[in-house]
């Protein structure tokens, strides 16, 4: 590429050098590319401006502060039909994130289990897992989502079937799952963060947990140091446990912690906390679908570690469990993790299919009802795409960091 032919002999600079001289050509190409790109973008923007003007539309985001007028069922923030479109959008974004996080967690568990089980010597388990993986990989996710939600609706009992039936702490109905909720009879109240309220009790519990684990870590490290110095490890398990648990228990007792159980009242269960059937269905469908893809990467990752590694470890007298932990897994993970994270990315993007089953994620609120009610396609879609882009880029960034860390140091 960089052919240096020495300075041209006393000819001075000719325009044609911009094209034929390799020293200048790359600059020329870049300038031309930049121009073409800006020209293209400018053309698109000017078209859009003209078209919007022709339709008498403007481009502004003030609609976000107007009253939304519609209700949303799965709420992580205070929200009513009198809240603003902006708040509905934030609500949708939170719903997307929750779905994505729990989906990734269960998909990983499912995927690892299925990937390992596919390599199992148990014929029927291996075959069943193959059927699972192939069935989910080769049928569109949208169909799976619709099917799973339909199964949830059809197979689970309706709330009214629980009339005169003793319900346990957790109730599964075809409208969603109800769980006991934590309640504090002498709670500390809420703190208003502007956008939403946070329970001080919750913050206190989190703070105590973080503090407890930190203290426990300190104790552990002190024990390590002692072991390193004297060769005898003091037994600190009980100290560590009590550092985490004691303050927490004390706090919970002091604030009057108890569980609120769901009870059938009127049409639905009241009390407790719940997740909607659409959330359940989406969660299951997304986990199963992504799990099938993860299973394939896990299988490939395990197969990629050559058998000689295991044999070498055995030859060195390393125990099988340690062989797995110290030899196989670190190498397999290097192969598994990059596709795993891109599956997380896919799952996050796929949560947008929630629109098909009525889960109000960001696509359902911002890109759905808000778009329909306000008719501001340009603004809502730009916001929506911006949101997904930020999430994806964050995940990609984390992935790149990880890849850098585990990269084989080539010598």
């Amino acid at each position: 590429m960089t052919v240096t032919s020495g300075p041209p002999a006393a000819e001075g600079f000719r325009l044609s050098q911009l094209i034929y001289d390799t020293r200048y050509r790359s600059t020329t190409i870049q300038v031309v590319a930049l121009f073409a790109f800006m020209l293209g973008v400018g053309w698109l923007i000017s078209n859009a401006a003209q078209n919007l003007a022709a339709l008498g539309k403007d481009f502004n985001f003030s609609f976000l502060w107007n009253t939304a007028g519609y209700d949303v069922n799965q709420r992580l923030l205070e929200y009513s039909s009198q809240s603003t479109h902006g708040r509905a959008a934030v609500l949708g974004i939170l719903n997307t994130l929750v779905l994505a996080v729990v989906g990734c967690a269960t998909a990983t568990v499912l995927g690892v289990l299925a990937g390992v089980a596919r390599l199992s010597k148990n014929w029927i388990v291996a075959k069943l897992m193959s059927v699972y993986v192939e069935a989910f990989r080769n049928v569109p996710l949208l169909i799976w989502i619709i099917i799973v939600v339909a199964v949830v609706n059809e197979s689970l009992p309706a709330p009214r079937d629980f009339r005169d039936v003793e319900t346990g702490a957790i109730v599964l109905t075809n409208r969603g799952a109800y769980f006991p909720e934590p309640l504090f009879s002498r709670g500390l109240g809420d703190v208003d963060l502007g956008l939403f309220k946070v329970s001080l009790d919750f913050l206190a519990v989190v703070a105590l947990l973080v503090g407890g684990f930190y203290a426990s870590g300190r104790i552990g490290r002190a024990a390590d140091a002692k072991q390193a110095a004297t060769g005898v490890r003091p037994n600190v398990l009980w100290f560590r446990l009590s550092a985490v648990l004691l303050p927490l228990i004390a706090f919970l007792v002091a604030t009057g912690f108890h569980l609120g159980y769901p009870e059938l009242k009127g049409f639905n269960f009241a009390g407790g906390t719940y997740v909607r059937d659409s959330f359940l269905g989406l969660w299951i469908a997304l986990s199963l679908y992504t799990g099938a893809f993860i299973a394939e990467s896990v299988r490939a990752g395990i197969l990629a570690v050559s058998k000689g590694q295991t044999e070498a470890a055995f030859a060195l007298g390393i125990r099988p469990s340690q062989t797995m932990n110290l030899v196989i897994l670190p190498q397999a993970l290097r192969v598994i993790v990059p596709p795993l994270i891109s599956q997380y990315l896919n799952l996050t993007k796929n949560t947008s299919l929630a629109i098909a089953v009525g889960y109000m994620d960001a696509t359902g609120t911002l890109g759905g009802i808000t778009l329909n009610q306000t008719g501001r396609e340009m603004e809502t879609l730009l916001l929506l795409m911006g949101f997904y882009l930020v999430i994806s880029l964050t995940i990609s960034f984390v992935m790149n960091l990880y890849n850098e860390r585990i990269k084989l140091r080539e010598r």
């Binding site: 014929w123 949208l142 947008s352 629109i355 997904y388």
Partner: protein, 447 residues
């Protein structure tokens, strides 16, 4: 020789009652160590954990069969009254009469039945033209068909005069004519320095002028001379699996050149080119296809010159192509990255320019090893075409809700989804098996 010695020793002694004159035949292994019993023991019940797993799996399969089989068996295919009511009167299980009645609608959408042969033929053309691309052993001359097939398929499916696609096809010929015949004259005018560049610019401009100004009149004239036309079929009559295939195929074929360009751009040492490529790829990969489809259905028209308006299917194809090209770029980048460094160094050592080394050394190899992944991205794209339901196109899923709006079939659920899922499964599974086969085959080539 000790044996003979021993023999003679024997012979000299007393005569013996028994001498083995052959090997004793091996007795069959115990029944627990061979055949199906052993297989079952080894593969199903090797230990307590596996026994539990096996039993649980068997129970699961039995449960599924118990739930689904009666429904499947007691099904109704052609009741006297072709409706859900008719099915319910006849059988308690599945009502496949809806598939029976709407099968062709699922395949072709609302395409006029007397013209079903056209998309069918187009599909055959596609398969035949993919043959030389996917199987290196196929006759090379078929590649000409591959190059022509998009035009043939377009003409077959949408109909209209053949001269439109032919005139578009003539565009590269115009460019070539200008470059080959006019090159000398142009060089004379602008001087040696800029001759080749000006020729390229002139050729591109010629193509553009041809497309913008001459295409219509020339086509019109040709039509008036010899109207070789098929009956036109409007886009809104396309639907069903045909629509999914069209979107998927256009997306994947269209994304190849764009994807190659983007992959090269991303690998490029030119900062701005690289930035633009990376920006485009990451943006397209970072947003869900569903939002891009919303863009296609609601925003794309805003970004076009005022007054212009084109077909929704075309807009969807454009967005899907852009979307797929970002993924394609990553697939091809993977292929390029997989090549040993020696290939680049060898190309440099031969004194090849960048484009020469890409064209003759890098891309042919990179594309070849990318083919399995290209097939996988096609599978992904094909599955994703079901999302067009959210913008009102009648793909199989969209058709299923349109069918359920018919009084006769309102209330049908599982039969429709099951059928669609099965169709997708057969198609995608077939392709994924093929791509695995390719992967194995290509791998042996390289080791």
């Amino acid at each position: 020789m000790s044996e003979t010695h021993a023999e003679t020793a024997f012979a000299r002694k007393a005569p013996v009652a028994f001498v083995a004159d052959g090997q004793i035949p091996a007795s069959p292994p115990p029944s627990t160590a061979v055949g199906p019993v052993k297989w079952v023991k080894d593969n199903l019940f090797p230990g307590p954990v596996n026994t539990i797993l096996t039993l649980a799996s068997l129970a699961f399969v039995a449960l599924l069969a118990y739930e689904i089989l009666p429904w499947l068996i007691d099904s109704s295919w052609a009741p006297a009254d072709m409706s859900l009511r008719g099915c319910r009167a006849e059988a308690s299980g599945a009502c496949f009469a809806v598939i029976n009645e709407r099968f062709y609608q699922f395949i072709f959408g609302f395409y006029p039945p007397e013209h079903y042969w056209r998309p069918t033929l187009a599909f055959i053309v596609v398969v035949v033209s993919l043959w030389p691309v996917l199987f290196p052993s196929a006759p090379r001359k078929l590649l000409i068909l591959s190059a022509l097939s998009p035009f043939i398929c377009y003409w077959l499916i949408w109909g209209g005069s053949i001269w439109g696609p032919v005139a578009v096809l003539a565009a590269p010929a115009v460019g070539w004519l200008i470059a080959a015949k006019g090159g000398g004259a142009i060089t004379k005018i602008v001087g040696e320095d800029f001759g080749p560049l000006a020729t390229i610019v002139a050729a591109v401009a010629g193509v553009a002028i041809w497309l913008l100004f001459f295409l219509g009149p020339v086509t019109g004239a040709l039509i008036s001379i010899a109207p070789l036309a098929l009956e036109e079929v409007a886009s809104n009559r396309l639907g069903g699996f045909m629509l999914s295939l069209i979107i998927g195929l256009v997306g994947i074929v269209g994304s190849l050149p764009l994807g190659i360009a983007l992959a090269l751009g991303r690998q490029s040492k030119l900062l701005i080119v690289k930035a633009i490529s990376v920006g485009f790829i990451e943006t397209m990969r970072g947003v869900p296809l569903i939002t891009l489809l919303f863009v296609a259905s609601t925003l794309l028209n805003y970004f076009m010159p005022p007054g212009s308006n084109f077909d929704l299917i075309l807009r969807v194809c454009i967005m899907v192509t852009l979307f797929a090209s970002a993924y394609m770029a990553e697939v091809i980048r993977g292929g390029i990255a997989a090549l040993p460094k020696g290939q680049y160094e060898a190309a440099d050592a031969m004194g090849l320019t960048y484009w020469q080394s890409m064209r003759f050394i890098i891309l042919p190899q990179a594309l070849k090893i990318s083919i399995p992944n290209i097939v996988s991205s096609f599978i992904g794209l094909f599955k994703d075409t079901t999302l067009v339901i959210v913008i009102g196109l009648l793909d199989p899923l969209g058709l299923s809700s349109a069918i359920r709006a018919d009084q006769a079939w309102n209330g049908i659920v599982w039969e429709l989804y099951g059928f669609i899922a099965l169709f997708f499964f057969i198609f995608c599974y077939g392709m994924s098996r093929y791509s695995q086969y390719l992967e194995r085959k290509l791998r042996t080539d390289h080791r």
